[in-house]
């Protein structure tokens, strides 16, 4: 076998620890008088009309919060931190029973004045050298105390588990003679395992990031820089956006109801996947999801004990999927089981024929996904009609045409190997470190020198962490009084150019450039990047020029004969008129009537309206 130079690892260990609440026992050290911040959150309730529903409880037990007599304000220290208070706090933390396994230190205004946090961390480290400590000025040195405190707590909660896991993995990797291990983060870049172990919270949203990086790569290969992506899996579908060739970022994330405000690739999850279960409600409407059969027991047609009708069962009954053609994992599909499951719904609006019910299920699933795709784009001021749709995952490409029609989109990109796009994204992801610092200054009062001075420590840290990488500078700006920021790239140190760039970006995103409000520079960001070698898509085995066969499928209530093509082996330049099924090893695509696909040299299929 070939030697392996680099192993790039995407892991759900952090996400699962949050979902299952199996992290470390954390003690939180915070400013006295504000010990309840994690419980107060942002004061909005969990559900507008379900008055019994509460937010998930914080990761820290209330008894494990230690208040510190100290206070810093916007201009500096208001109440000093006395040495005897430091001693008292250390003793209080040591006295916790059962003892804390990790510590989070998050004081008010530490994003700007970190001295008190530093002293507490130093004293705690001396007293408890074996216990990991996360400090808010290191984890997320930006304003908004709830999000910073929560993120710091997440880091402490995850760090012991993640660092132990990565330590083991690194030893295994070495033992197998693999040259290098890298770990995927939420921002769509990779870190060396040592760095990842102390940035455990930055792995929490990394799961879906790989697919978006892969989508971006395919978009670049086919010359489409603006993409709406949809990764349709078993229980849910993840929507994301690529604009101007870059994945859209988001720092307002939550995992399992816990705020994690670190840079991340924007993902909006919709509960519609292949395993989503269909039912008829008491008012007579057909619902699909949010309940899902998942992978186990899975759709009825998997023959693993599931007997409730799912989207995958519907696709099989419509013959979009082929019972003769096993899915990934060598799952054989049982059409009779799928039909039985659909029949169990009884009469659906007068129809009891499984094919009619199946057509209804896919129409509803598409409506749910279309609504989510519209929401994710419109909420960011982007018009889907000006973008291309890139559906991936095993089942996503079956829904491309329906979704594009619902959203008024004209172009669909079916990536090569749609079921393995996340892996491709992982392999292609750059080494990346995101660094942040707070500034909070009016742009007007800022000189070029001020800006260079403020960026200097971040640039130095970037150079240290990613030697020989490129350093990209960004700033978060906002109009005074607004609660949201816009990130713009910085070229040169001229504040006037930043202001112009901000106004242009603001107009592009929000349709206006404010109304004479002051512009503030809130945060500085440095992204240190080192791109790896990009994968090549060309594939010598791409020789298929014509369909293998045709088979009758059901589309919008009508039976039509679809040509069937080998998706993974299509030769460049081949055109495919709908209706057509493109069957690959790990995914199936559907080109509907009124659409025509053209195979790009990369192996992607560009599907456009005829």
């Amino acid at each position: 076998s070939l030697p392996i130079d680099v192993l790039i690892h995407g892991t759900t260990i952090a996400t699962n620890a949050l979902l299952e609440r199996r992290g470390a026992r954390v003690a939180l050290v915070t400013t006295k008088g504000f010990e309840d911040l994690l419980w107060l959150r942002r004061q909005d309730r969990a559900a507008l009309y379900d008055l019994a529903r509460d937010h998930p409880s914080p990761l820290v037990a209330r008894a494990d919060v230690v208040g510190v007599a100290e206070r810093t304000g916007p201009e500096g220290v208001l109440e000093p931190l006395h040495q005897d208070e430091v001693v008292r706090v250390v003793a209080a933390v040591r006295a916790l029973e059962p003892p804390a396994e990790a510590l989070a230190v998050a004081l008010l205004f530490a994003f700007r004045h970190a001295e008190h946090e530093r002293r507490l961390v130093a004293a705690l480290r001396d007293a408890l050298p074996a216990i990991p400590i996360a400090a808010s000025h290191e984890v997320l040195p930006v304003f908004r105390e709830f999000e910073r405190t929560s993120t710091t707590t997440v880091e402490a909660y995850l760090r012991p588990k993640v660092s132990a896991y990565l330590g083991r993995l690194e030893r295994d990797v070495r033992a197998r003679g693999i040259g290098m291990l890298r770990v995927m983060t939420s921002s769509g870049g990779t870190l060396p395992p040592g760095a990842a172990a102390t940035r455990a919270a930055s792995l929490a949203l990394s799961g879906p990031a790989g697919g978006v990086i892969g989508a971006r790569l395919v978009g670049a290969a086919v010359g489409l820089p603006d993409l709406l992506t949809l990764d349709m899996g078993g229980t849910s579908a993840d929507a994301s956006l690529v604009t101007g060739g870059s994945p859209l970022g988001d720092s307002g994330g939550t995992v399992a109801g816990v705020a994690v405000a670190l840079p991340a690739v924007l993902i909006e999850t919709v509960s519609a996947g292949g395993g989503s279960i269909a039912r008829v409600d008491e008012g007579g409407a057909l619902k699909v999801g949010p309940e899902s059969a998942g992978a186990v027991p899975g759709p009825a047609c998997y023959g693993r004990g599931g007997d409730r009708p799912t989207v995958t069962d519907a696709c099989l009954v419509l013959r979009w999927l082929d019972a003769q053609h096993p899915l990934a994992d060598a799952v054989r599909l049982d059409r009779d089981a799928a039909e039985d499951a659909l029949r169990s719904l009884g009469s659906v609006g007068g129809a009891s024929d499984p094919t009619a019910i199946a057509a209804g299920i896919v129409a509803v699933a598409a409506a749910v996904m279309a609504r989510a795709l519209k929401r994710v784009s419109v909420a960011r001021g982007l018009d889907p009609r000006r973008m291309a749709l890139l559906p991936f995952g095993g089942a996503g490409p079956l829904f491309g045409c329906q979704l594009a029609e619902a959203l008024g989109m004209r172009t669909i990109v079916i990536p090569p190997h749609p079921g393995a796009l996340s892996a491709l994204g992982l392999a292609a992801a750059a080494e990346r470190v995101d660094l942040l610092a707070s500034l909070h200054r009016a742009l007007d009062g800022l000189s070029s020198g001020d800006l260079a001075t403020a960026f200097a420590p971040l640039l130095e840290e970037g150079r240290r962490q990613v030697p020989e990488g490129s350093l990209l500078r960004y700033v978060d700006c906002r109009f005074a009084g607004q609660g949201y920021e816009v990130t713009v790239p910085v070229t040169g140190d001229d504040p006037q150019r930043i202001r112009d760039a901000f106004l242009v970006e603001h107009r592009a995103r929000f349709g206006h450039a404010g109304s004479d409000q002051r512009v503030e520079l809130v945060n500085l960001r440095v992204v240190a990047l080192r791109e790896g070698p990009l994968p090549r898509f060309a594939d010598a085995r791409r020789v298929v020029q014509r369909p293998g066969a045709s088979r009758p499928i059901t589309l919008r209530g009508a039976r039509v004969s679809a040509s069937v093509w080998a998706l993974d082996e299509l030769a460049a330049g081949v055109t495919i008129a709908g209706p057509a099924i493109l069957a690959g090893r790990n995914a199936t695509a559907l080109v509907e009537p009124g659409w025509r696909g053209t195979v790009h040299p990369s192996g992607a299929v560009l599907v456009e309206r005829t």
Binding site: G33, F34, D36, L37, L40, R42, Q43, D44, R45, A46, L48, Y49, D50, L51, A52, R53, D54, H55, P74, L108, F109, F143, R144, E145, F146, V280, D281, G283, G284, A285, L286, K287, G349, G350, A359, G360, A363, V364, A367, A370, R371, K374, V378, A379, R380, A406, G408, H440, F479, A480, G481, Q482, G483, Y484, R509, F510, G511, H512, G514, S515
Partner: protein
């Protein structure tokens, strides 16, 4: 035509998606924080007959509240493509800061429906910045009144000449107009995709479907002549309690609330038009329905609200109404819940029932020897009432509001204020089989001379427990330790400390087998 099971769901998502898109366009392109961040706004699509087909209500106070706006416009012989504006509470509005734009949607040259967008503007003129003056006795003090008018450039100029922050208002109105246009485009796109006859038929079917679901769910409850009385603690002019009295009947799946016995028009600003009372009742009904019932006019068909003319909740021109949306709406929802609980219906105990509105304002140096006015407004969460199945959440907004807090680090960087503490209020939730949620303590220190005004409730009458659960603790507002009235304006000197303790939620069920928190 009758939609089948699939069509109902597909078209339900399609209409909801148009309303959602309108709301997102508004929130995304508005300028003022009150719309962008507090999301005090709403968007809805109506059919040509004036029934609401879909709504994106971001906070419950806007729920179903725009029916009257469309009715007012329909009386003016609207032509396809016209856009109207109004804020008059006596002709289709709620309170003056809520400016509503109503676009008639041109489908093939006829009025195919209405695209309606309402947003709370943080100033619409009147005697005080913010246009919610405490102590107002007539609506004329609360701002500029806009009856339903075609929105022309002249009308906009006239409106902007009457407000304090004209540029921000202009930008927010532009965002509203863009949202109205997006709604019209969305409906036309559906017509192009499915055919207009099918879309129109689908709207009718969806209304029937929602009505059927609502009446099904309500039909499982029986209630006859359930009554309750609760109190508003003064009207901003006078400190005396004002009764809100309801009688609830649920017959054949129709939820009827009658307000006979409610106090007559108040002298201050706690009056509200019947549309606001209806929103509060609709909120209660919404909590009784399964989550997936679409919010449309079909649900409203299952709700009837009646009130004697000229009572507090059926405001008489020219009564002041600014606080009606904010606090009276809360009390109406509370009173209806209380009546249901008294009838043995499984509803939560009362929550804090107030938004604890706190406004600070003063003058500050802007550099170069200039001085400028500033104001800061926030509302503070409290305890939710416990429900029959769970404790009440703590430190949240209840009822008709759900806006987020302002981070302390933002507040202190931008205003001459310091937050001394921000904490849950231990023991404030009423005990019960399930405990009520806890209130909040928020303590502000003034760093400069300033005015503060507080508009709050539940300082005298505690949130009630249900099914034997105990009441939540009452709220309080103290200046340097001395208690203040529920609705009051005070001057603060540097070093003065204003401490707000918000009410806890009521408990649910007898606490005999230990108090589950």
């Amino acid at each position: 035509m009758t939609l089948d099971a699939v069509g109902l769901e597909v078209m339900g998502h399609a209409f909801a998606s148009v309303a959602e898109e309108m709301g997102l366009v508004l929130i995304h392109s508005a300028v003022s924080p009150n719309i962008r961040e507090r999301r005090d706004c709403s968007a809805a699509l109506f059919d040509a007959a004036g029934e609401m087909v879909a709504q994106a209500a971001h906070i419950p106070v806007h729920l179903g509240a725009m029916h009257e706006s469309v009715a007012a416009v329909r009386g003016l012989a609207p032509g396809p493509g016209d856009v109207f504006i109004l804020n008059d509470p006596y002709t289709g509005g709620s309170h003056l800061p809520d400016i509503t734009l109503i676009g008639t949607i041109d489908v093939d040259g006829a009025v195919g429906g209405y695209s309606v967008v309402r947003a709370h503007h943080s100033d619409v003129g009147g005697v005080q910045a913010g246009s919610m003056p405490a102590g107002a006795r007539e609506i004329f003090a609360e701002g500029v009144i806009v009856p339903p008018l075609r929105l022309t450039a002249d009308v906009e100029r006239f409106l902007l000449a009457n407000v304090r922050t004209a540029e921000t208002r202009r930008a927010d109105l532009a965002a509203q107009r863009a949202a109205v246009a997006r709604g019209a485009e969305g409906l036309r796109a559906l017509a192009a995709r499915y055919g207009w006859a099918a879309v129109r038929g689908a709207a009718t079917d969806l209304l029937d479907y929602a009505e059927r679901r609502a009446r099904d769910a309500l039909g499982r409850l029986t209630a006859t002549a359930l009554t309750a009385t609760d109190w508003l603690e003064g009207d901003g002019v006078d400190d005396a309690d004002l009764a809100i009295r309801v009688r609830v009947d649920i017959t054949d799946g129709v939820f009827h609330v009658d307000f006979t016995g409610t106090a007559p028009a108040a002298r201050g600003n706690v009056n509200c038009p019947l549309a606001v009372a209806r929103s509060a009742v609709l909120f209660v009904v919404r909590t009784l329905l399964p989550e997936d019932v679409p919010t449309n006019g079909g649900v409203q068909r299952a709700v009837r609200v009646t009130a004697p003319p000229e009572c507090l909740v059926n405001a008489r021109f020219p009564s002041a109404v600014a606080a009606g949306n904010v606090e009276t709406s809360q009390r109406i929802a509370d009173t209806v819940f209380l009546a249901l609980a008294a009838g043995g219906i499984a509803v939560p105990a009362q929550g804090q029932g107030t938004m604890n509105n706190v406004t600070f304002g003063g003058m500050r140096d802007t550099g170069s020897g200039m001085r400028d006015g500033w104001t800061y407004y926030e509302t503070i969460g409290g305890g939710q009432g416990a429900s029959p199945t769970a404790p009440g959440p703590s430190g949240v907004h209840v009822g008709m509001s759900n806006t987020r807090n302002t981070p302390i680090e933002v507040l202190e960087m931008e205003y001459p204020l310091r937050v001394k503490s921000y904490a849950l209020r231990p023991g404030s939730g009423g005990v019960g089989r399930w405990s009520g949620g806890e209130g909040v303590i928020r303590e502000f220190e003034a760093l400069a001379p300033m005015e503060a005004s507080i508009l709050a409730e539940r300082r005298r009458h505690a949130p009630r427990g249900a099914a034997g659960g105990r009441d939540g603790a009452r709220g309080s507002t103290c200046l340097n330790g001395a208690p203040l009235n529920p609705k009051v304006s005070v001057s603060l000197a540097p070093g003065d400390v204003l401490r707000v303790e918000t009410p806890g939620g009521g408990g649910w069920g007898e606490p005999e087998r230990g108090d589950k928190r």
